[in-house]
């Protein structure tokens, strides 16, 4: 099984950094057969990047009004991601659009889990909210368990 963990977001924009922080925490675990990527979130490029992987986990910040650090999980192969949950610029399209375009083009990976972490402050130069930062190690460990379980299942 080839697996990819993508952390989406800008490391210098407050809670937007959470995706990248989780990806780096997964990288520190040096999981065999798991590639790690920190990504700016541009949709067309995301589709190219996950091409060829059997198992993809994408981590991004969410903005839904719930408490900071709250974690949600979606099976993107099963259903569209909720629109408006992910912070995005009006530049082109982001993760939810990339998922839908890939679905139409038959370019979704066989398995794509999206993990969203609720953020509150996305200003340039802001530090991550304590509750968001606190979610990082637990999520890295959860992703490691998830990928190990999937690998075992496949073996």
């Amino acid at each position: 099984m080839t697996a990819l963990v993508v952390g989406i977001g800008h490391p210098l924009r407050g809670d937007d950094a959470v995706g990248a922080m989780v990806a780096l925490a997964v990288e520190d675990l040096a999981l065999p057969g798991v590639a790690v990527l920190c990504h700016h979130g541009e949709g067309a490029d995301l589709i190219a990047r996950w091409s060829g992987f059997d198992r993809v986990v994408a981590v991004d910040a969410t903005v839904s009004g719930t408490e900071p650090g709250a974690v949600r999980r979606w099976d993107a192969c099963a259903a569209p991601l909720p629109v408006g949950r992910f912070p995005k610029s009006s530049h082109v399209f982001g993760l939810p659009e990339a998922v839908e375009l890939a679905r139409l083009l038959g370019r979704l990976p066989p398995s794509l889990t999206v993990i969203g972490v609720e953020g509150v402050d996305f200003r340039a130069g802001a530090t991550m909210h304590a509750a968001v930062a606190a979610a990082v190690p637990a999520l890295a460990a959860e992703i490691a368990r998830l990928l190990a379980f999937d690998a075992e299942l496949q073996a």
Binding site: H40, E42, A44, D45, I47, A48, S89, S90, H91, V92, F93, E97, E100, L101, L104, L105, G106
Partner: protein, 431 residues
């Protein structure tokens, strides 16, 4: 009794950045029309003051994730003009190659994903993918090839490449890495020619505008990264005289200064301008594609900018292919000179039009002041003129039709509002 209609659109889709459009109509006449930019000013020119001149290309590249090369190169050239530097031929060629990469990724994105849906009655590229999967596959592959060119030269990064500097490059990409792009670029060239055929077959509203075009012109090539400035009225001048011909004015409804011609007129920059001024410099494949699509040497219908942009896609792929085949590693990868005080100018053809830079530095190389005039700032006035014409021609139409046409009129320019400072909201008040 006066007729009253109010139309409001909060966000025009498929443009880069955030802005607004408001139209007031009284008794069947346009009383007021503004293309507004409410994105807060970005203050780049202010925070460049005091920075070392060598930092300026990388700092200004952050103005835009779509066209960072325009900023990297305009700033570098301005600094080089201060230092009296002339880059070597291999450095010059490598610069043109990475710029072709930027044109390919930016034009492919706009032609297929942002602009084509307008002509097919679709809302977005997702709907396009649902009805024509191969088309969107091609678009994604073309864009990726542009990105690959930028990554091969730009230090592995297509968004904000890191390998460009004043005087050239930090490191010359190995020949093998550049030659590896050849097969994909050959495919891109063939696909671009097909793209011109495809978009040339769209139906276009019958709108002709009497634009004054302004673009770079170069004696030997379709100008992208160097040349003199030329207008369709026959005036030609060096880049250093840009501010003698173009001034900037503040209008209350926009956080982006309007770039306007000093004679009081509006000038048009971008693909239509480049094409009109440099038609004789198009390479054979681009020229053949343009002629096959029925384009003459000047195109004045803003809606046909999609076809001209596709012709430029052919030109960029053709140029890139030649540059890849002839690539020689620049050795050394950059040229250097003693720091000296002075004022310098740079101007290149960003995908959306000319992007001008002017800097003054002191004897230690610290920036004393900076001035950047991006293409969308210059096109604001002609966008308003186009909008007025389009709205006037559709006054008898329902609000939804006016909105649709007005949004299209804006997208003809592929505006990068984030560069101009950043979105679009349409407010139509008939009352």
């Amino acid at each position: 009794m006066a007729e009253t209609r109010t139309i409001k659109v909060d966000a025009i889709a498929r443009v880069e950045g955030e802005g607004s459009l408001s139209v007031k109509i009284r008794n069947g006449e346009i009383a007021d029309l503004h293309f507004g930019i409410f994105e807060p000013p970005r203050f780049f020119e202010a925070f460049l003051k005091g920075r070392d001149f060598r930092e300026v290309p990388d700092i200004t590249a952050r103005i835009c994730g779509i066209c960072p090369i325009a900023y990297l190169m305009g700033a570098s050239q301005a600094m080089e003009s201060i230092l009296g530097l002339t880059v070597t031929r291999p450095i010059r060629d490598l610069r043109r190659l990475i710029y072709c990469g930027e044109w390919i990724e930016s034009h492919a994105l706009h032609v297929y994903m942002l602009h084509a849906p307008d002509f097919l009655g679709l809302d977005d590229a997702l709907q396009l993918a649902a009805i024509n999967r191969p088309l969107v596959e091609n678009a994604l592959r073309l864009k990726k090839i542009g990105n690959d060119v930028m990554e091969a030269i730009g230090g592995g990064r297509a968004v904000h490449p890191v390998n460009l500097r004043v005087g050239g490059f930090y490191k010359a990409p190995p020949r093998a890495a550049i030659r590896a792009l050849e097969a994909d670029l050959q495919w891109a060239l063939e696909t671009s020619v097909e793209t011109v055929k495809l978009v040339g077959g769209f139906e276009f509203p019958d709108v002709e505008q009497d634009y004054t075009f302004m673009a770079l012109r170069h004696p030997d090539e379709y100008a992208i990264h160097e040349g003199r400035l030329a207008t369709s009225t026959g005036v030609e001048f060096p880049v250093s005289a840009f501010l003698d011909h173009v001034s900037e004015e503040h209008v209350a409804w926009s956080n982006a200064l309007h770039g306007v011609a000093r004679d009081g007129g509006a000038h048009h920059v971008g693909p239509l301008a480049r094409y009109a001024i440099n038609f004789d410099k198009l390479g054979a494949p681009a020229r053949a594609a343009a002629e096959a699509a029925g384009l003459g040497p000047v195109v004045r219908n803003p809606f046909k900018s999609i076809v001209v942009r596709a012709v430029e896609l052919v030109q960029a792929c053709d140029d890139a292919l030649k540059l890849v085949r002839e690539y020689v590693e620049p050795d050394p990868p950059f040229v250097d000179a003693e720091i000296r005080a002075g004022e310098g100018h740079g101007c290149t053809e960003a995908p959306r039009g000319i992007c001008y830079h002017r800097y003054r530095i002191d004897a230690d190389g610290a920036v004393l002041d900076a001035r950047i005039v991006p293409p969308t700032a210059q096109n604001q006035k002609v966008m308003e003129l186009d909008l007025a014409k389009v709205v006037r021609a559709n006054l008898d139409q329902p609000d939804e039709v006016i909105k649709w046409r007005a949004e299209q009129a804006i997208r003809n320019y592929d505006p990068c509002i984030s560069c101009a400072t950043h979105f679009l909201k349409l407010e139509l008040d008939r009352g």
